[in-house]
Symmetry: C2
Subunit: 404 residues, 2 copies
């Protein structure tokens, strides 16, 4: 991979349109670009040669003839530089190094505690990035862009977490500025983890070409990424998709946010684990009683899922109840948003089809028939990779500053 | 107003961009267009003269100098042709004739019953349009575009109402084809009434420049128009915003849709009127008992609003309860969508500030503090005019077919 000049970070809107069209197509001719973008032949030719000179595009093969000479095809120059994706979970960090084609070259993950000081956690991430780049005999200056997903609402313009319930020490801390100091050559983009997952499905997964969909992550919390008009939707304050704190029972238990009966406190991973412990201790679930003993008194949502898969009746009831609560909330969102697809991801989704079917049933029961006529609800095909691929896409989308 | 050639209905994307920029600005110079749109000087000059030749733009005054010669300004040529807006309510039709500048020249409204056969109602609308055009010494062929808002979900591509609960006879009937046969020169665009109201606020009202907001119409039913990424959002099936059938009480009364406890059956106009009748008959509200007698046994939501304004305690409780139910549903939408503004419109909004304040309180109580940090909830400034101005904007936006 060649060293590249990364100082010129501006691009015109038309150049960006061409770049994105090439990214979508893989390989494309000037004539096809012209047709797709409604630009003149001369404009396309000028932009393409400029992007080739800058090393952003490269000549690919020769395409099929459409009547005349067989056309030169162009592609993204994967060697233009590196893109790094980072997925910060509540208990782990996941890092990927990709080329400029967004092709992942290497991945690395390790356990981490997001409640740590931001300097410590981000410092560790920076070190890991340097190590992975080093293993590819490259220099940190060749990193063009870093995209980071974090578990909390993000002020997207500033790259700062806002009022993060899981990470109080991160309030007002600029993740972007920290990473920029460590990697001055890279543009740094920070977004909420579920937004990043939705971007992953939208750009490289099953959501490609789907104009609107929801991505629901069910894990320690419950969050939602929203794609509307084919773009990620963040809302006024970066708080869009904070569905974990939608009230589903005014008389429900008190959530860590201070309100009663939030979806998250009643249906996310910890609630499932707590219900599992109850049926283990009361003797209603022999499977979970055994698992509890084996795990030295610890029980997780995954254990409840395992029990349900093994046919344990009490565990099945927990899964059904969970699906009913999540599906009831989704029924409201379906009436409001009429999405084309709802992708379900996050650790709890590993519980499997019984959960999906309970969610589906609850949505069908309480949404209008028109809004569910074409609705698909399915597990995120990218699954655990949605975050990291989304972080890379996010980074590469915000690599250039558009000038007019 | 001069007769114009209305056959050429195609426009390039760049021409449309220029047209929309002129519409937004009112009057604008070539240099400003160039700066705003990132087009070259030559391209802007060519497009502007082409649009002037076609009669779409006209030369306006001379602008202030920015260093050199004082620039020629351009504006929309109001005389290019007529735009018609139609707002079909459950019990009324409202028609406006506008020039190509979207300036309303005349309005006309009359009572109508939307449950009538579509041919009868649309035939009446067509006749009214012909009459209003005639009063302006113009010909129907000068109508360039007709925009129509109808009270039900619309398949926007086809201009057909889908599963309209209020208007069963309209199922599969193409409103667009009917109007096209009567006005062959006009492009016809049909949308849901609340979407049209949201478009009204977005294009000519307080919503100008607001990237995302909700428009809630509270009348015989309850619906919501959604602006996201500065554009109307219709969802997969044109069903987005159907918030009237969101469940707010699993044990609530049965709605006409067949489900229990829909917001609409519990908090829209008829529910308010029914509660008003109860307190009138039980003697809890002397004001409403009197009104009921005066109105020969009829009572409406407006009567309940009047009673509340007069300080009637039972009526105030009804208004508070209504606001609490609507606000509870909105709290969910605020967590999900994090809108910048919620505009409240529709007949029931005339009940006034007590309703608004009850809605506000319920939203603040159950939304996250981040999502409400900048949220404004206010009555639609355009009010009863939102539908008709939105219909005109809708029509003028879909006047041209974009070619590349």
């Amino acid at each position: 991979m060649q060293a590249t000049l990364t100082t010129q970070r501006t691009i015109t809107l038309e150049e960006l349109d061409v770049l994105l069209a090439v990214r979508r197509a893989g390989e494309i001719s000037r004539a096809e670009l012209q047709a797709q973008l409604g630009l003149s032949r001369a404009t396309v030719a000028a932009i393409v040669s400029q992007l080739v000179v800058r090393g952003i595009l490269s000549e690919a093969g020769i395409g099929d003839s459409e009547g005349g000479r067989r056309p030169q095809l162009f592609a993204i120059n994967g060697g233009f530089g590196y893109i790094v994706g980072v997925d910060v979970g509540a208990t782990s960090i996941d890092i990927a190094l990709a080329d400029f084609n967004n092709q992942i070259l290497e991945r690395y993950a390790e356990a981490a505690d997001v409640r740590d000081e931001p300097e410590a956690l981000l410092g560790r991430i920076a070190t890991l990035i340097e190590q992975v780049v080093d293993r590819h005999f490259a220099h940190p200056e060749q990193i063009l862009a870093i995209g980071i997903g974090v578990p909390g609402p993000v002020n997207f313009e500033d790259g700062v977490l806002i009022a993060p319930p899981l990470m109080p020490q991160w309030e007002s801390f600029s993740i972007r500025d920290f990473m920029r100091r460590r990697f001055p050559s890279a543009s740094v983009t920070v977004d909420n983890d579920v937004n990043v997952m939705a971007i992953g499905e939208a750009t490289t997964g099953a959501g490609q070409g789907v104009e609107n969909f929801l991505y629901i992550k069910i894990g320690t919390g419950i969050g939602c990424g929203i794609i509307s008009h084919s773009e990620i939707y963040r809302g006024r304050d970066g708080a869009a998709g904070d569905v974990g704190h939608i009230c589903i029972d005014y008389n429900g238990p008190i959530c860590h946010c201070g309100n009663a009966g939030c979806l998250e406190i009643m249906a996310a991973g910890p609630a499932i684990a707590m219900r599992g412990r109850e049926v283990a201790e009361s003797g209603k679930s022999p499977f979970l009683a055994r698992r509890l003993a084996e795990n030295h008194g610890e029980l997780t949502a995954t254990d409840v899922g395992d029990a349900a898969k093994a046919g344990d009746r009490a565990a099945n009831e927990i899964v059904n109840l969970t699906g009913k609560m999540i599906g009831g909330m989704l029924a409201t969102l379906v009436n409001f948003f009429n999405p084309q697809v709802i992708y379900i991801g996050g650790g709890v989704s590993n519980i499997g089809n019984r959960l999906l079917s309970a969610i589906h049933q609850a949505v069908l029961r309480r949404s209008t028939s028109l809004a569910t006529r074409h609705l698909r609800i399915e597990f995120s095909p990218l699954g655990a990779d949605a975050g990291i691929t989304g972080a890379i896409s996010l980074a590469s989308e915000h690599l250039f500053e558009v000038v007019t």
